[in-house]
Symmetry: C2
Subunit: 152 residues, 2 copies
Amino acid sequence: MNIGQAAEASGVSAKMIRYYESIGLIPKTVRTEAGYRVYSDSDVHTLRFIRRARDLGFSVEQISDLVSLWRDRERASKDVKRIALEHVTVLERKIVELQQMAETLNHLAKTCHGDARPGCPIIEELASNEAPQCHSAAGTRFGSLGKAPTRV
Amino acid sequence: MNIGQAAEASGVSAKMIRYYESIGLIPKTVRTEAGYRVYSDSDVHTLRFIRRARDLGFSVEQISDLVSLWRDRERASKDVKRIALEHVTVLERKIVELQQMAETLNHLAKTCHGDARPGCPIIEELASNEAPQCHSAAGTRFGSLGKAPTRV
DNA sequence: AGTGACCCCTCCAACCATGGGAAGGTCAAG
DNA sequence: CTTGACCTTCCCATGGTTGGAGGGGTCACT
């Protein structure tokens, strides 16, 4: 199977398959004489695994661990569960962050008459010198969420 | 005021101030003879505005619009409200996405005994050939959320 | 006047995951 | 043999932010 068919069958783009190979998430494949990558059904299976893990929001690094655990017949389900639950924790923190942003904006938008007149509480809030937001946590730019603030 | 003090006072790092200048979000500042950027209290006010908008998850492009509207005394609050509510829509879609991921994982983790034995429903789910997830929408990799799937 | 501790400058690279495209090789069908 | 669909590698862009290198400025203290 060529890379295009493998991409089709797995739902991972050819671009990403090459990228995953380049970073070592998947091993280098066999090549034809002409240099074309060749994939087996088993490879497609792995790619599908990877795609599902991506769909669940795991990072490539986490997926790398999950793939290892998957391949490892002696794997401890404890390890898998730990990775999954750690990820859930991160997800839930991000959810809260986004909810606070949305709440703050909804609150401000509600008090904004939204017509052609100037004078808008949203702008005024942003421009104020006072406490950043009414919903406190949205201002914690560098929460303990990792290296960077949540990009939205 | 030098850039460091402006950064301190506004909560925007010196690096980011230079970046915002370079992309035109803020105008070029006056410089000292030695080439140091000089900031006024008003500049700091603008930077604080920008930081708050970032905290609310607005993109730089949106912030650029908001800053223009802020400066424009004839601004229509309608325009501000529209930007804010559009952003809320995006936020809420992302929240739902993340919630679905978290739900799926929580569900799988619940059925994972999580001890030293092998055999783990989380891995098995990822590896299965069947329907991607029990919570359907988490698999819609390219939902109508914009250019790319939500990176987590 | 020298020295050390900071500050500032610009430019370049990295992160993450992904898409786009150019320039060239390969393959199968017509 | 031509055409078109595929493959290859390589480079570039995204967005927002941080980091570093390498060079210079400023200031207070000795």
